[in-house]
């Protein structure tokens, strides 16, 4: 910039030449210094994180950069609401990062785009990433048609937070294990006239219904993800249980915006149960007063016949196929998969580690509130691995909201869900039948 400004001012040829010489010598110096600096950081890794994980991971990276002097990591934090379209747009524009955090429901989509690097060979050679140590169902969400595309980073499953004291006062010594028991407790603990409800399940979230539905043995999609399977007996039972909870006024039909501050309302006894995920352990510890900390506990999710099956959620670390620094990216994945690093990550954020051995040390060891999660993670079940799943789940939630509002019966709702799902999956059926997919991952 300064050179250009000078060029404007110098009118005569002589000073022009001088300026040119200066410019040349400056360029040379710049080149020499950059050559000298080059080995210091010859790998500039771009790492995209989604949501609050980005804030925590920057605290873990200085150690990584110290032990790997040739690698510098640029973390870009994407907000959750914009992450999905940012990833797709980046793929369309050919500007994907080297490494990214990817929710395991988004993984099939990126695989369908052939955007991700298969990782099995690297895992086989690795001394850090040991597949046997990972929760099996979480590991399975990263396998699409037999190929591994991601390494689990943190895990998540939905289960019950409950008020032990309220249950005890109502004569229940233990949390429910099946739906019949649960229904009985909900009935006892709900009193719409006093504005207390058995449970809070915000109607604009699909995770609660999905967790219930995954407990049934019927799959949510049939024929290899070609058609919806919502009219199965299993899903119908789950939806009936879910919708009845609202119709019997055992849960308020409100969205999470209207729910406002569910933690303090849980503390005040407005809800006896709250169906949610691991991050709320930290929230309840932070938001409820010390004398109430003994009153709440967590329990595996009650099922149709027994408890402890839930959705296998969480995020994985993936390497993009277009990355030119896959080895460096893999070193970062290995670093983030180390036991101590995972335990530090839990301390920073409360994101639960995907490796069983990470649970045997640090703050997680012997934490009674985390125990139910540990148990349920062994038996978590993945959501259908089709790229359209996110959209199908959205439609499922919209139709369910209509059923809760009384606009549809359960039978009408499941028929409508299948109708919408079959329409969304039309293209997938066509691709499968014509076997034209680029990777051949969809035979």
């Amino acid at each position: 910039m300064r050179v250009v400004a000078r060029l404007h001012r110098s009118r005569d040829l002589c000073s022009m030449q001088r300026v040119l010489w200066q410019a040349c010598s400056m360029l040379c110096i710049a080149l020499i210094t950059s050559c000298g600096r080059a080995p210091a950081a010859d790998h500039e890794l771009t790492f995209w994180t989604i949501g609050r994980e980005g804030e925590a991971v920057v605290k873990l990276l200085p150690d990584f950069e110290r032990t790997h002097p040739g690698i510098h990591v640029n973390v870009q934090q994407l907000p959750l609401t914009a992450a999905h379209q940012k990833l797709l747009t980046a793929f369309a524009g050919g500007s994907t990062p080297d490494i990214a955090q990817l929710g395991n429901t988004w993984l099939p989509e990126m695989v369908a785009l052939d955007a991700l690097e298969p990782l099995q060979a690297r895992v086989d050679r690795s001394t850090v990433v040991k597949p046997d140590d990972y929760f099996a169902s979480i590991w399975a969400t990263n396998m699409i048609d037999g190929t591994l595309y991601g390494v689990p980073w943190y895990v998540d499953t939905r289960l019950l937070f409950y008020r032990r004291d309220l249950l005890k006062a109502a004569g229940f010594d233990a949390p429910p294990t099946d739906w019949t028991q649960w229904r009985g407790m909900l009935a006892t603990l709900s009193d719409p006239r006093r504005h207390t409800y058995g449970i809070l399940m915000p109607t604009n979230e699909y995770e609660q219904l999905m967790s219930l539905a995954l407990q049934e043995s019927d799959p949510l999609l049939r024929d290899g993800g070609r058609y919806g399977n919502f009219e199965s007996a299993g899903f119908k039972r789950a939806l009936t249980f879910y919708v009845d909870t609202f119709r019997l006024h055992q849960a308020p039909a409100i969205t999470n915006v209207e729910a406002g501050n569910p933690w303090s309302e849980f503390g005040r006894g407005v809800y006896a149960f709250y169906l949610s995920g691991p991050w709320n352990i930290g929230e309840f510890r932070k938001r409820l007063p010390a004398e109430q900390q003994g009153d709440w506990a967590t329990a595996p999710l009650p099922g149709p016949s027994n408890a402890g099956i839930g959705v296998a959620g969480g995020s994985s670390l993936v390497i993009f196929r277009t990355s030119k620094q896959k080895d460096a990216a893999w070193q970062l994945i290995e670093y983030l998969s180390q036991l101590q690093v995972q335990q530090r990550f839990y301390d920073l954020l409360g994101d639960m580690p995907p490796r069983r051995s990470s649970w045997e040390g640090g703050a997680l060891r012997g934490d009674p509130k985390a125990l139910a999660f540990r148990e349920q993670l062994e038996r978590a079940r993945p959501t259908p691995a089709v790229p359209e799943w996110e959209r199908i789940a959205n439609e499922m939630q919209l139709v369910t909201a209509q059923a809760i509002a009384g606009e549809l019966t359960v039978d009408q709702a499941i028929a409508e869900m299948d109708r919408r799902t079959d329409r969304i999956l039309e293209k997938r059926r066509w691709i499968l039948d014509h076997a034209r997919s680029p990777t051949g991952t969809h035979p």
Binding site: D114, T255, K427, S437
Partner: protein
């Protein structure tokens, strides 16, 4: 002949820019709307299928499209008259000989137009917060029960309309002000000599003389308001219960959330047809009104 060639030469840069940045994308979008371009086609172009008018047909059968159209029409039907009368009222006040500090008020009333919608939305979300908002605070003093402005499906759209009118009226106000200042003063003088009241002066001089300005402003506002997007995007994200999902919002969801660009282009062209029909109708009505 040579002067004609020179004219074309001078026009070429503008035509090239128009062609590359307007005509070509429009044609491409039209072609896209006849295909099922989606995630799979993005991965491999061989997965692209020509579907003729099926995107349009599927849209017309989707309840969400009709409800989005309903919300958009609601927004236009209430928002445009409200916005135009606010603009006209503000312009009349500013043009009044009694007004003081005109430059200050002109700037102040125009300010919302030039501020960014995202920054303003943050303030408005606070104003209309159910528990802590100033709007409900004022209502509470008047003894009216709190309203869930942005969370209640019945109130979300009126709140969005209020926001959009406040944000946009300054622009039309400036145009109206220019129109008002162009009315010759001797007309008013003659009317005063004839003993016409202020109201009759307004009705028989101001409004008829503003006719052409009014027509232009209404067409601009209608076509602008049909493209409702930024306000619900920053205030409600289309909710609650999809009650503020406009046609353009639906297009955004289809195109960039689910990456169904074929279907999204079809939405865009349907909206274009609707807007074209409405503006043509307005022009026709205005012409007939002019002849009568």
């Amino acid at each position: 002949m040579s002067s004609q060639r020179a004219a074309w030469l001078f026009l070429t840069p503008a035509l090239v820019v128009l062609g590359v940045f307007f005509l070509l994308p429009v044609i491409a979008a039209l072609a896209l709307s006849l295909t099922d371009y989606d995630l799979y086609a993005l991965a491999n172009i061989h997965n692209l299928r020509f579907v003729a008018l099926q995107n349009y047909w599927a849209l017309l059968q989707r309840p969400l499209f009709w409800s989005a159209l309903g919300h958009t029409v609601y927004f236009v039907a209430v928002g445009v008259p409200l916005s135009m009368s606010t603009s006209l009222g503000a312009a009349l006040l500013l043009n009044s000989p009694l007004a003081r500090c005109k430059p200050f008020f002109r700037t102040a009333l125009f300010a919302p137009v030039v501020t960014t919608v995202v920054a303003v939305a943050v303030i408005w979300r606070y104003l209309f917060n159910t528990k802590y908002g100033m709007a409900n605070f004022a209502l509470g003093h008047a003894g009216i029960q709190a309203i869930d402005w942005l969370g209640d499906p019945r109130w979300a759209m009126p709140t969005i309309i209020l926001f959009a009118v406040w944000k946009n009226f300054g622009y039309n106000m400036i145009i109206f002000l220019a129109g008002l200042q162009a009315i010759p003063a001797d007309l008013y003088e003659a009317a005063r000599i004839d003993g016409a009241s202020v109201w009759r002066q307004c009705r028989h001089i101001t409004l008829p003389m503003l006719g052409p300005t009014m027509l232009m402003v209404s067409i601009l506002t209608v076509s602008g308001y049909f493209q409702l997007f930024a306000e619900p995007y920053v205030m409600t994200e289309g909710g609650p219960l999809q009650s503020t999902t406009s046609v353009l919002y639906l297009m955004y969801d289809e195109g960039f959330k689910w990456w169904n660009l074929g279907s999204a282009s079809a939405v865009a062209f349907l909206l274009f047809l609707i807007m074209f029909a409405v503006t043509a109708l307005m022009l026709k009505l205005a012409r007939r009104g002019g002849e009568a």
